[in-house]
Symmetry: C2
Subunit: 342 residues, 2 copies
DNA sequence: TACTGCGACGAAAACGTTTTCGTGTTGAAA
DNA sequence: TTTCAACACGAAAACGTTTTCGTCGCAGTA
């Protein structure tokens, strides 16, 4: 176990100064060819790699970005990470992944850890608890300290920073319009509670589509779910004895619970009831019937977020700074849980 | 945008020396009470946080561990990460997540990045390509440099390091035994190619169970799949016209493809054919019929890996070092894709 | 008065780099 | 012989900490 080669050790070994070694390795013309070659050969032979930490300290930048997500056992977020990693690596950056577990405290803690020099900036999707609390002081602080921040998916309007979102309203609208085109008259909505931004927005889309097609909004057909755990029972309860022929669910789990309940009631999907979900996960693809969904393109969201952040990092802060919001388009993927259009 | 408070700035502001500030903040008795309180008040008011990078350089440890996984859009691996994060955070460590994308080159690259001072040690599950190549020089190098390494799930015997695995053989055996108990006579195996360690081991388990129950091994009933992409077609081809009443698949995707094929052939699951998968993912739980599977307890594997690594990190290397292999037990979760036992 | 001891603080090294600014040795021009 | 570039290299500061080892002043003691 050799304890890691440093410039100092090379210098001592070759009887030159540390600066000479450093310069030689960086191909400085200041160093004579003979010495340079000797040093480079030595370094190569003993596999010298400069110490990242020292470099970070010196350069005051770490070439590392952090991403904080609410949960990782979640298809959408993993695709986002995938996208972030891809772009980050291409541009020579490392990625620090942290989980907030949907907890406000953990989110704050994570940000503090990452902000103390470990990363140059971060990408964040807000924890559910944070959105509920509406407390964003940690974001403001980070920005004030000069840490660039990119919010994605679960964002909040009143923070001035770059954002990457999908057109949740349009996405929801598209889905419901499609149901209407398939001939559905009584369309139910299964959403999350309103403080989760995406739930609220998709609900907007649902309502818009109805209004524009002169269908009355019936609040009895709208279910808002707070806790993931109880969702299955709630959905069953909600759908019992309801005369619906279309269901729009804001994620794939709700959609599948809906299908199960519908089937248990002796009705058929899609013949009797059409169902559309949101987020294109493994479940949607492989369930029987496979789910028609609104795809979010998580990978692209990750890529865009990373690009946005790194651009900001590599620009001199003097250049006129403004904040962008990138909207990644959603796409309706039609499969077998909806009737074909009329 | 204030450019980050440092000890030096506090010192200048309060007209004391840097060392005094440092000591005061660490509650050294060397510093008079008055000065100490003054400094602490100032630091608190301006929210001073020590710079992590500088600390890392000084202490020669980063309090960070890296985890390299083959893919992240994958339920099992995300549960492992979850477990690692949990334990790491509890013990005051940060986690660096990197993806190898199942590529040998990316794996090597990632290790090099992490080894240059960014992390104190890492947790790794081998890329498919690496296992195929059988080239583990990067692991050996890392270990030689004194970087502790923990391998999990996809491991290789001839590397001396800590390991966390499941009893793949026993797991496979349990599954097949269960099928036998359910009355299955012709049990097919859908596995991966042999160089993926887990595929090979589960195949062993399959064979052992058959042998011990005096059932002849029929190589025609064994399918080894190389590419995930073509798996569905291959499985359909394989199962066509085969007289089987039980299927053991080494992951949930294969299991579900099998069920689909079986149903398309007009047979019923589990009445005509019982199916068991491996890995307890979202799909297994929610598919209809829900899948009987061998659960891997990814979360626990992550926890154990992190604990193993951190223990090694916090021990002085002088204490007699040996390597542990922790075997996390599998558990057969019975659901609706298998007949009830006779 | 001279010495000792202690309380309170500062100087400086160290971690591993990069970079600026010397500095000493050449060889050639004056 | 002197002078001056050019060349090849080294010393030292800096990044932000922690820690060891002074040092200074003052009170107490002999």
């Amino acid at each position: 176990m050799k304890p890691k080669l440093t410039l100092k050790k090379i210098a001592k070994e070759l009887d030159v100064s540390i600066s000479t070694v450093s310069k030689a390795l960086r191909d400085s013309p200041e160093i004579g060819e003979e010495t340079r070659e000797k040093i480079k050969a030595f370094a190569k032979h003993y596999n010298y790699k400069p110490n990242n930490i020292a470099l970070s300290l010196k350069n005051r930048k770490t070439k590392t970005i952090g991403i904080i997500i609410p949960e990782i056992v979640h298809h959408f977020f993993t695709t986002v990470i995938s996208g972030v990693e891809k772009v980050a690596n291409e541009m020579g950056y490392n990625v620090f992944v942290c989980l907030s577990d949907n907890s406000f405290d953990k989110e704050v803690l994570n940000m503090e850890m990452l902000a103390n020099g470990s990363t140059d900036g971060f990408i964040l999707s807000l924890a559910k608890e944070t959105m509920q609390k509406g407390d964003y002081h940690h974001l403001v602080e980070a920005i004030n300290q000069g840490m660039p921040l990119v919010l994605f998916d679960r964002v909040v309007d009143d923070i001035a920073c770059d954002k990457v979102i999908i057109d949740d309203v349009t996405g929801g609208k598209k889905a419901v319009e499609y149901l209407i085109e398939c001939g559905c008259k009584n369309i139910a909505l299964i959403s999350t509670v309103d403080y989760v931004s995406v739930g609220k927005l998709r609900t907007h889309g649902y309502k818009q589509a109805l209004v524009e097609n002169n269908i009355e909004i019936n609040e009895d057909l709208i279910l808002k779910i707070e806790e993931m755990e109880d969702s299955e029972a709630e959905i069953e309860q909600f759908l019992r004895n309801k005369k619906v022929d279309g269901v729009f669910a804001v994620n794939e789990h709700f959609a599948i619970s809906a299908i199960k309940t519908i089937q248990e009631q002796g009705k058929k999907v899609p013949e009797d009831v059409s169902v559309i979900g949101f987020t294109d996960g493994e479940l949607s693809k492989r369930f029987i019937p496979s789910l028609t969904t609104v795809s979010q393109h998580g990978m692209r969201m990750g890529e865009e977020s990373a690009r946005l952040l790194i651009e900001k990092l590599e620009r001199t802060p003097s250049e006129d700074d403004y904040y962008k919001t990138i909207i990644v388009e959603t796409e309706l993927v039609t499969r077998n849980s909806t009737k074909s259009k009329k």
